[in-house]
């Protein structure tokens, strides 16, 4: 299936994943680690191990705090 992945503040990608692909697979497909992003569906965070059920997600990158 085809999913539009918008990396907030950066590029938007068209990604294809297997029918049983997960949100984590989408993140890996745009060269990010599931541990450095949150995936938002309709504005709400979703568990990344779940199968993709929508055709559009937003990916919010973590910002390194630099100096606490």
């Amino acid at each position: 299936m085809h999913v539009t992945v918008e990396v907030v503040g950066e590029e938007t990608h068209d990604v294809s994943v297997d029918d049983d692909g997960t949100y984590a697979d989408l993140v890996r497909a745009v060269d990010l680690s599931p541990h450095e992003v949150s995936v938002l569906v309709d504005g709400s965070p979703v568990p990344e191990d779940q199968p993709v059920e929508v055709d559009r997600v937003k990916v919010l990158r973590l910002i390194k705090g630099g100096a606490p």
Binding site: S33, H35, S44, V46, P47, Q50, L62, I63, A67, P68
Partner: protein
């Protein structure tokens, strides 16, 4: 996917524990782990009383980590008369970036009615990081200068404000990266220092009188969860990357670590549990080897150092020579 604890929609999955949690159970879980760490590290001394309270200075940068730390500490101890807290923000002189995050700090401290102090590199040292990054007389990453100056000011002002402890927002990823860096650099002495400076529980550390002891109550929480907590609680965290950020080695380590975590969930936690044990042994070993290290006073600023001139004054000298 439902929350493991109730029927609501899960907002996260923790690969290392297998948990799926909804917004409220996730936030409760973060708070519980932070409070557990505070207990485990014995942050609140038994002899703290309302008449003679314990003073904590919180390093508040305005980024998600320190904002979450300040929020949870206020929720936990805001009404506790045995603890007095204040926030300290350092302005490094980074145009735009730090101005916005200072606004986030002012907003949060105002919301919590917490005392808040701001000190700047410009007033303290007569420098701005934007200039330092451009001039770079020592041919180093900007973070290398900035870290020295920031630690100096945090330390100096924590002491000036009478802090018993200095609390910072380092998360699990930060600490596991530091641990891996020390291992890969073969720096056992640095592990020993890490244990006594900030890692060990207060009743097992051998702190020196020379420095305000530090604590990192978020160090069990993965960075991603800190960010998610800030997002869900709608905290006023500032979310832009520092324009000078360039710690190349740390970046490589982070990539390696997250890749391992992805394939072997729980890697960060196990790095830290093993590292803490090793760091404690290293601390024991180095303490018995040379006892307490005698520190000199820096001939320029008087702060404690092993050399004649402290690192900060050395860097300031080369900046002035530009």
């Amino acid at each position: 996917m439902e929350c493991d604890k109730c029927g609501r929609d899960a907002v996260m999955h923790a690969g290392y524990s297998g948990a799926h949690l909804c917004e409220s159970h996730f936030c409760a879980s973060v708070e519980k782990r932070v409070r557990g760490r505070i207990r485990k590290d014995s942050l609140v001394p038994r002899d703290a009383t309302p008449e003679d309270p314990e003073h904590w200075v919180i390093g508040l940068s305005g980024g998600k980590d320190s904002v979450v730390l300040t929020h949870i500490l206020d929720e936990t101890f805001g009404e506790d008369p045995r603890i007095e807290m204040m926030a300290l923000t350092i302005h490094e002189g980074i145009e735009g970036y730090r101005d916005e995050s200072v606004d986030a700090c002012v907003e949060l401290a105002g919301d919590l009615q917490m005392r808040h102090e701001l000190v700047t590199y410009e007033e303290e040292f007569g420098i701005r990081m934007d200039d330092v990054a451009r001039e770079d007389p020592e041919n180093m990453a900007p973070c290398a200068y900035c870290g020295v100056f920031r630690r100096d000011l945090l330390e100096q002002y924590a002491e000036e404000f009478g802090a018993d402890k200095l609390l910072t927002g380092h998360n699990l990823d930060d600490e596991a990266e530091t641990a891996l860096m020390n291992v890969l650099e073969g720096n056992v002495k640095q592990m020993a220092k890490h244990f006594d400076a900030s890692l060990g529980p207060f009743d097992e550390r051998h702190p020196t009188d020379d420095f305000v002891p530090r604590a990192k109550p978020l160090r069990d929480i993965p960075e991603k969860e800190v960010a998610l907590y800030a997002h869900l609680k709608d905290l006023p965290a500032h979310i832009t990357e520092c324009p000078h950020a360039s710690e190349a080695f740390r970046g490589e380590i982070q990539e390696l670590m997250l890749d391992l975590e992805d394939r072997h969930p729980g890697t960060r936690h196990s790095i830290m549990s093993g590292y803490e044990e090793i760091a404690e042994m290293a601390a024991d070993r180095y303490r018995s080897d040379d006892g307490d290290v005698d520190l000199n006073e820096c001939e320029r600023c008087g702060s404690k150092t092993m050399r004649d001139l402290c690192r900060k004054c050395g860097l300031l000298e080369s900046l002035r020579a530009v």
